[in-house]
């Protein structure tokens, strides 16, 4: 077996991720490493704000390659995800041919040639001619329709796209693929079968602290500890939407901007909107913040 390209071991990958400011736990590092080594897409699932998208960004950075991102949404189809024809230019071309009196003899291939093709993310990932294969991020795949999922399935199995007017375009080297899902619905089994799977949970206190300090080196450690302690406690309560790492980072930044040295009830209440995104949650915490803070200090 030839040695896998990129990171030489799980430790190496974990180390490189850390160098890029992403603290990956062992489980995540293992699955990213295996996805690279086996050449299989990796499906990341988890609540919003636990750093799924970030994995792809950091991976591209670590591998020193391009990141190509496809954001999924309901109704996404081939013309927005793969390719589309440049109609205005095609029209002009027809007029031009007409002016030269060649319109009647013009063949399909004159109008539908690669020159008139608009490349969308998936086609760009396949046609990429960079030195290293790009990282293809298919973000929030749970938002796309099931029909699009079926199309992805096809694409992920042979990394080729057929444009009827031109022919089949095949990837010289398959891109590194990362899919993410917020799990608003279950992804189809067939698609999951193509992928390695990793559930990303909210981080442990220890890891969250490491992330916070890696991302915001200016933050005093005592404040960082309190921020993490508070957020970790919040995650134990009944909230509509628990804060993710993204919210922790935002909140720490907000507190720094306000010049906080340690958590104080008044300041916490004033900045709750950074941490909690539902009115019900903010209201519940406005009265509960003091208690949580006291509990935290008591240990």
């Amino acid at each position: 077996m030839t040695p896998p390209p990129g990171p030489a071991s799980i430790d190496d990958l974990q180390h490189r991720f850390q160098g890029a400011g992403y603290i990956a736990d062992r489980d995540l590092a293992t699955s990213v490493y295996l996805s690279l080594a086996l050449g299989r897409p990796l499906l990341l699932e988890g609540e919003a704000g636990v750093g799924k998208t970030e994995v792809a960004r950091v991976l591209a950075q670590v591998l020193g390659t391009e990141l190509i991102r496809l954001q999924c949404y309901e109704g996404i189809d081939v013309s927005t995800a793969v390719y589309e024809w440049d109609y205005p230019r095609q029209m002009l071309e027809i007029r031009l041919l007409e002016a030269r009196g060649e319109a009647r003899t013009a063949a399909t291939k004159d109008i539908f040639s690669e020159e008139f093709l608009i490349r969308r993310p998936l086609l760009r990932a396949i046609e990429d001619h960079g030195e290293l294969p790009p990282v293809l991020l298919i973000d929030e795949v749970d938002r796309a329709d099931e029909e699009f999922e079926a199309f992805l399935l096809e694409l992920l199995s042979d990394f080729a796209v057929t444009v009827p007017e031109i022919g089949t375009l095949r990837a010289a080297r398959p891109p590194r693929v990362i899919l993410t899902s917020n799990r608003t619905r279950e992804i189809h089994d067939a698609l999951k079968r193509r992928c390695l799977y990793q559930w990303i949970d909210y981080p442990t206190a220890e890891r969250e602290l490491a992330i916070l300090l890696a991302r915001q080196p200016d933050l005093p450690e005592s404040l960082a500890r309190e921020v993490v302690g508070f957020v970790q406690r919040l995650r134990q309560t009944d909230l509509t939407k628990l804060p993710g790492i993204a919210e922790t980072l935002d909140w720490a930044a907000a507190l720094t901007a306000l010049g906080a040295r340690r958590l104080e009830a008044g300041q916490v209440e004033a900045t709750l909107g950074v941490l909690l995104k539902y009115q019900e949650d903010v209201a519940a915490m406005r009265t509960g913040a003091r208690t949580v803070l006291e509990e935290m200090r008591a240990g």
């Binding site: 896998p4 799980i10 489980d27 293992t30 086996l38 189809d77 013009a106 509509t240």
Partner: protein, 390 residues
Amino acid sequence: MITEISGEALAANAVLFGRLLRRAGLPIDPEQTRTFVRVLELLGVGRKRDVKAAGRTVFVRRREDLAVFDEAFELFWRRRGAPGSLGHKLPRMQQSERRPGALDLSDGLGAAEPRKEPLSVVLPGAASHVELLRQADFGELSGEEERDAMRMLAQLRPRLPRRPSRRQLLGRQGARPALRRMLRRSLATGGQPLTWRWLHRTTRPRPIVLVCDISGSMERYSRFLLRFAHTLARSGAPLEVFVFGTRLTRITRQLRVESGDEALRRVAGTVVDWSGGTRIGESLRELNLRWVRRTVKSGAVVLLISDGWERGDPELLSRETARLQRSCHRLVWLDPLASRAGFEPVTLGLKAALPWVDDFLPCANIASLERLGELLAAKRSAEFRVPSSR
């Protein structure tokens, strides 16, 4: 610690492990096992932590299965020394059988389903029987009528609400010209687009969430309404079903079987608070907290079936109903008592919740359930709307 292990033994172990996971209830295919062999070759088996993480990423495809995997892995790792004896000794990690003493929902239904003949109640000379049954209150049916009503419910083909989709279809009419098609065609006519083709928006079924009260006061109705839920589940609409008495239980999966009797039997095996008290507010709170964003989604119609006999805090109920209404397309409250002559929404629960409800409809007989389908499919249903104080 084992550091050197032959490829053959590795493969054998991976296969055994795959089999163990399948026994434990994970859907494992041979492809996954093959992948796992490659992974073991790559990582070795020296570090338990890594082997476990690798196994999780290869074998598990749903978060719910992680715990099962971990348990199976520990078991396997411990017994790895004696691979020959593995398969037999393992406990089966299946869902527990029906709880003893759980209520059998299909009481008296017998083999109603397998019989294929259409409505045996339609006897010559008794033509109006079906019509009477359609109008009869579920709570007042005799044993025989009950069976017939169940069968009628199974045969309902309700019209379902639809929502606009972003998907576009090619046609002769529409909002946007289908440029690709037209350009292609225009080549035949020297670049002149002679025939116009259009793209138009399509619709798709709107998700439905059914939340059914199964407390004591609803006992006479809940069986029929769950049967109706099963009919809905089979109609192809995206449907989530929950039941509650003192606590909320999700029964979407249980209803996903062909036979209505079987579905009800499964529900009975899952639900623990059958025919007990009612805590609507807390159940809705649970729904709002744990399920709304995953299953209700914006754009869903929520059907809440209850008579509003609330033993909990009416204020909580009011608050949670309001919250639920805000996160769905339309909140419909179905009350089996609403069709009775002289009905007034006086129960504590109803009074608390009604201001936030979009529609308030009866659901005591088959006719009203048919009507419900019509109303949902139509754009507006002002007819039954309770003038709200909101």
